[in-house]
């Protein structure tokens, strides 16, 4: 089920200069009524991106765009790397936020920190999150402000990003890396360890029989 990502890829970056971007902003509640995993891209950052209030029945192509929102600038319309401030993805556990980001076309998000549930949802959907220090984000922000556009190369295997002549290392859990690169079906993978689950369950049932009906 999972999408896999390439070992090395590059892309244009856009800078969203906001801290604590919550999942209500990434995908507002009215779009959570969908029972699908796809089609959320046009409503990514909906309240910031459009000047009117949209819902699932809106024809997004006819809605008025907010000219002040960074993703609507001509320069950044086809970016696939999002750089932002600390605690991105806080709030609600809605995986729809990740589906909206990937459906829009983002492959990677770079920020000083991410919220815990958002982190888990991301790697399960092939969205790479890269945490780098606040000071380095400031540096990138400065560069992007001067040059307007920057290209970033991401080396997932060696855990480095390269921009211009600079390089920054990043951390990535082994198990997240494996899932991102291999695009494994996680349920199937866990079920390969079914013996462990059965053994645990057999013993555990003796400890807490009232929890088994």
């Amino acid at each position: 089920m999972n999408k896999s990502i390439s070992n090395i890829f590059s892309g244009e970056a856009v800078f969203l200069d906001k801290a604590n971007v919550d999942t209500d902003q990434i995908i507002p509640k009215q779009f959570l009524k969908s029972i699908k995993r796809t089609g959320f891209g046009p409503n990514l950052f909906d309240a910031w991106r459009y000047l009117d209030k949209g819902d699932l029945n809106s024809d997004n192509s006819k809605r008025k765009l907010n000219p002040d929102f960074i993703l609507n600038h001509d320069l950044y319309k086809s970016c696939n790397i999002l750089i932002t401030r600390e605690n991105f993805g806080c709030g609600s556990s809605r995986e729809h936020a990740v589906w909206a980001l990937t459906d829009y076309g983002f492959t990677t998000i770079i920020a000083p920190s991410f919220a815990d549930i958002f982190k888990n949802n991301s790697y399960k959907n092939g969205l790479l999150l890269i945490e780098i220090d606040k000071e380095k984000i400031d540096e990138i922000f400065k560069q992007i402000t001067e040059k307007k556009t920057i290209n970033i190369e991401v080396d997932v295997h060696n855990q480095f990003i390269y921009l211009e002549e600079k390089q920054f290392p990043f951390e990535l859990d082994d198990f997240k890396k494996k899932f991102l690169l291999d695009g494994i079906d996680e349920v199937g993978f866990t079920l390969q360890h079914q013996n462990k689950i059965e053994d645990f369950e057999k013993n555990y049932k003796k400890t807490v029989p009232w929890l088994f009906k």
Binding site: Q25, I197, P209, L211
Partner: protein, 472 residues
């Protein structure tokens, strides 16, 4: 004799549920209770159907409808829901529960309600358990000494199929609060105060254990309010060690163990507490005397002040990012720097949500309202009980008469205006005193302005038409 291997409450919950590590080093944690609602489950059930598998343990799953349900007349059931997209989502849960044999507490069931109110009041939530739900406020259940976490939809599917959650162990944080709370300062004020102190990312990567005499003095309802907002402090789970109050609360609940089994369970539950000298990675200490009635002024739960305090000014922030965030929040909320929150009129009042919709919250509001009528400035004030049982209890106590005669609407249970997925929403630029948990932009309605408060403050603000100091 000294314990050679002291463990925290979280360590014990982890160790008793640790199944093993996968070959990729992802740890498998066994899940005891999986609560399901209509919004984050359809894609997970679809995934199971595509794979041709069913849930591993149907007896560990409880489903209810809450996020999307109307809180007005429901006599026509599903047919009465006008929003067809909402109706489809509720119907999808009904079909999935039917297909997989899962117990569903449906729309017109007396026990229906917000999933985090239903779990504890039915006795599904018990000490020593691991609990998940596709909703970030699952942290609420930690009030019973559980490891309770919100999960995404892929994880919902994974837990349904394998009974396990994949994760690596997080860090231990302890927040101790001691001393008595001041008059008209409640669990809600306490939890908002803590978020103001440690910030919305303060608990990231941790689980938080709350302890101290203030926490011990809280009722189970109050403890649930505290743990509910652990996620607003960045922690996926908040928890409080169970004590006699917890055990007494559980004794009469429909799904808690009974008779001899209760006695056996009780001995087991009593082992779930942090040992003396156990190690916490991060520790915070606060005194309850410091806490005033809290009101959020901005668009993040950490943007919170005591009701008597002034709204911050740009100079209060050092970095440019913080200043930008401050200015954006102030503009969105339509406030002036350095002003008093008492100077702004309110349009709507919302008392409800998984944070504050339990019987104790309703009593707290009723005590303030008692015999008074809400301000003419208020366009709409509503009380949405957390469950059918809370509603019934409130009506038996006559609280609904107090609410209705003071000008509040008395609604059917559900999440309602906490997130405005149903018709209960704020209009553009409408200002609301809300007992919910998130003051994010647009959360309660497009361009709506949310101030988070306790039920007592919401009631007092409804009477005055603006926030007032209720501590004196």
């Amino acid at each position: 004799m000294n314990n050679p291997n002291p463990k925290t409450l979280y360590d014990k919950l982890w160790d008793t549920h640790f199944v093993g590590s996968r070959s990729d080093n992802g740890d498998l944690l066994y899940i005891d209770l999986h609560m399901v609602h209509e919004v984050t489950s359809p894609q997970a059930f679809e995934g199971l159907k595509i794979k041709g598998i069913g849930p591993r343990r149907v007896d560990s799953i409880v489903a209810t409808v809450d996020h999307n349900v109307p809180t007005t007349d429901r006599s026509e059931g599903l047919r009465g829901i006008k929003d067809t997209i909402s109706r489809d989502q509720i119907q999808a849960l009904q079909i999935n529960c039917h297909d997989f044999g899962i117990d569903l507490i449906d729309l017109n069931d007396l026990n229906q309600g917000i999933v985090h109110v239903v779990g504890p009041e039915q006795g599904f939530t018990q000490p020593g358990m691991t609990i998940v739900c596709g909703d970030s406020h699952t942290s609420t259940h930690g009030a019973f000494g559980c490891l309770a976490m919100g999960i995404g939809t892929s994880e919902v599917e994974h837990v349904l199929a394998t009974q396990c959650l994949v994760m690596n162990k997080q860090k231990n944080m302890r927040i101790s609060i001691n001393g008595p709370l001041k008059k008209n300062v409640f669990a809600k004020d306490l939890t908002m105060f803590l978020i103001g102190k440690i910030g919305t990312a303060g608990g990231t990567g941790h689980v938080i254990e709350y302890d101290g005499s203030t926490i011990e003095s809280l009722s189970m309802e109050g403890r649930m309010t505290v743990c509910n907002m652990a996620i607003e402090a960045g922690a996926r789970a908040g928890m409080i060690a169970p004590d006699q109050k917890t055990f007494d609360y559980l004794k009469s609940k429909p799904h808690s163990p009974k008779g001899n089994e209760y006695e056996i369970a009780l001995e087991y539950w009593k082992t779930f507490h942090s040992d003396e000298n156990s190690n916490f990675d991060t520790v915070h200490n606060f005194f309850a005397e410091e806490i005033e009635p809290q009101v959020t002024w901005g668009t993040s739960p950490e943007m919170v002040i005591g009701v008597k305090d002034r709204i911050p000014s740009k100079e209060d922030y050092t970095s440019q990012t913080e200043r930008n965030n401050f200015e954006a929040a102030l503009e969105y909320m339509g406030l002036s720097a350095g002003d008093s929150l008492e100077n702004y009129s309110l349009d709507q009042i919302f008392i409800g949500s998984c944070t504050n919709s339990r019987i104790e919250d309703l009593r707290e509001a009723a005590e303030i309202l008692d015999g008074n009528v809400i301000s003419k400035k208020i366009k709409r004030a509503m009380i949405v009980p957390g469950s059918g049982l809370v509603k019934k209890q409130a009506e038996e106590e006559g609280l609904h008469e107090t609410f209705i005669s003071s000008g509040f609407e008395w609604r059917e249970p559900g999440c309602s205006m906490c997130l405005g997925m149903n018709p209960d929403q704020l209009g553009e630029k409408e200002r609301c005193a809300s007992t919910s948990n998130r003051n994010f932009e647009g959360r309660q309605g497009h361009l709506g302005r949310t101030h988070l408060v306790s039920p007592a403050m919401a009631a007092a603000a409804a009477l005055a038409g603006n926030f007032i100091d209720i501590s004196s």
